[in-house]
């Protein structure tokens, strides 16, 4: 963990008209860490993801990835540098097969593989997320849980250094959540740094090394899951009820 951070978010702000979506967000993400991002709906979590991967540039502040300034680069430039993401609202390429969906990730992600190599990588990744038997199906025919896995598979096929996971657990049942958490851990064990947004709190607290809390675009707390869950500011602003925090932590 003594290495230079893979991602540095420095004083990033973004506003939409009168809404301050992000205000002076600053943190470092060390190599190999799983950093959780939590906050109530509308806190600016997905906006932060969108700034990091170039959907829109931040109005203020800098984003540094592997020591290089990536502020204002387009999504495809950032993808090619080794950042991959999943979407909160799944975005399958519906008429393409599951395999082709994942091949897009591998062909155009940071390794820029050929079509032939991509097929091999895609099969391996589909095996990893448990979709391999559906490889020929159109992506549109998958159910929500499978589409979430497809999102993840596509991102992984790019062999990213940094993976942004936006609510991959939402809408899954407890068994599926447990499986997915295991998958996320394994991804980290392969050396991928992960920034994860999640509403399924016990799972997030469980899997994250460190947690950042956003509220109305402000960064209100940062620390280990234990520290954050016991932070009075977080309890007040986010969890509302102090007992809830204890209960969430106990749900492991």
């Amino acid at each position: 963990m003594s290495q230079a951070p893979i991602l540095q978010v420095q004083d990033v702000s973004k506003r939409f008209g009168g809404l301050q979506a992000l205000a002076h967000i600053t943190f470092d993400l060390p190599q190999g860490e799983i950093l959780g991002l939590i906050g109530p709906n509308g806190a600016g979590k997905t906006t932060l993801f969108n700034c990091i991967n170039g959907i829109y540039p931040p109005e203020e502040g800098r984003l540094v990835f592997q020591g290089q300034d990536i502020t204002g680069l387009k999504p495809y430039h950032i993808a090619r540098r080794g950042v991959a993401r999943t979407h909160q609202i799944v975005q399958p390429l519906e008429e393409l097969s599951v395999l082709e969906n994942v091949m897009v990730g591998s062909c155009f992600g940071h390794e820029q593989r050929s079509l032939g190599e991509s097929e091999g990588i895609a099969d391996e990744v589909l095996g990893f997320v448990g979709l391999v038997e559906r490889r020929e199906q159109p992506a549109a025919s998958l159910n929500v849980a499978q589409k979430k896995r497809l999102e993840l598979a596509r991102a992984l096929a790019a062999r990213p250094f940094l993976l942004l996971l936006d609510e991959v657990l939402a809408g899954l049942n407890p068994t599926e959540i447990a499986e997915m958490v295991e998958v996320v851990r394994q991804i980290r064990d392969r050396g991928v740094t992960i920034l994860i947004i999640e509403h399924v709190m016990h799972a997030l607290m469980n899997v994250s090394d460190r947690v950042i809390v956003l509220d109305y675009g402000e960064q209100i707390a940062e620390g280990t899951p234990g520290e954050v869950a016991n932070d009075p500011k977080v309890i007040e602003a986010y969890l509302g009820d102090p007992k809830l925090a204890e209960r969430l932590m106990g749900e492991e």
Partner: protein, 324 residues
Amino acid sequence: MKKQLRNPGLWLALAITAAFALWPALASNRAYARETSFTILKAVAFAASLNILLGFTGYVSFGHIVFLGLGGYVGFYLMDTFGLHLALAALAGGLSSAILAFLLGKAILRLRGAYFALATIGVNEAMRAFIKNFEPFGGPIGMTLNFGVYRAYGGPDQALWMAYIGTALLTIVVVLVSFLVKTSRFGLGLMAIRENEDAAEVMGVVAPNAKTWAYVLSAVFPGILGVLFFFKNGNIEPRDAFVLHQSIEGIVMVMLGGHGTVLGPILGAAAYQRLRGLLLVSPLFKNIQLAVAGVLLLIIILFIPAGAVGWLRTRFSRLRRVLV
């Protein structure tokens, strides 16, 4: 590449195209058969080119005929004024259409959906208005090839065959290119853009470049085709070169056969031309044949949006290997 060439779908598409092309050689009235085949091949080449943009990339161009017109004009001018050989003029026509598409790509491919479609109509109309007032190209009257030009090719009859063979070869090339695009990494990027441009960009597809090259590729062949066609016609004028409804007929052909497939535009173009031929000789329909095209498009979009080949692919998954 080798793996791609083993695909039976490619050979089926090429065989059907070759059958259209070779038919005049076997027919009893060869000149008549040649004219029929010429019309079909021209439609196939145009539809298959349009499909690269419409079918693979998901961008609807209502003004695609502008590339046929512009290419035709440039090639015609070079043949008429400088006596350039047909083959070179055809390449020049293709190149000029490609350049136009490249420049347009930078300007209007940022627009999405209906806005892009509208812009393409504007381009076609603007180009017609420009050519109409451009004196070197003959202004509103256009240009007529000096009969002597055909002499260089061994007389008018030989020249017509030459234009025909050129068109047949071009059509084969378009079908081949269309297959190679569809089965390539570039094509995968295009289809990702078609399905969801934002998601494609997040995965690393450089959409602005990919779209521009798809547009250029879909423009270069109509440019060449225009030269061959107007050479055969012997004259060119703004009214015939930039016929907006021909763009729309192109869309009907692609949709009828199945957009985003290699075989679809071939079958769609042939079927549409056959239907059009029947309508034009029918006393009842000859004046409203375009209305029939419109109704046809409506029916396809409402009931078989994937087109004939797309429908067959969904219905019989075993046919997928053959129906690319």
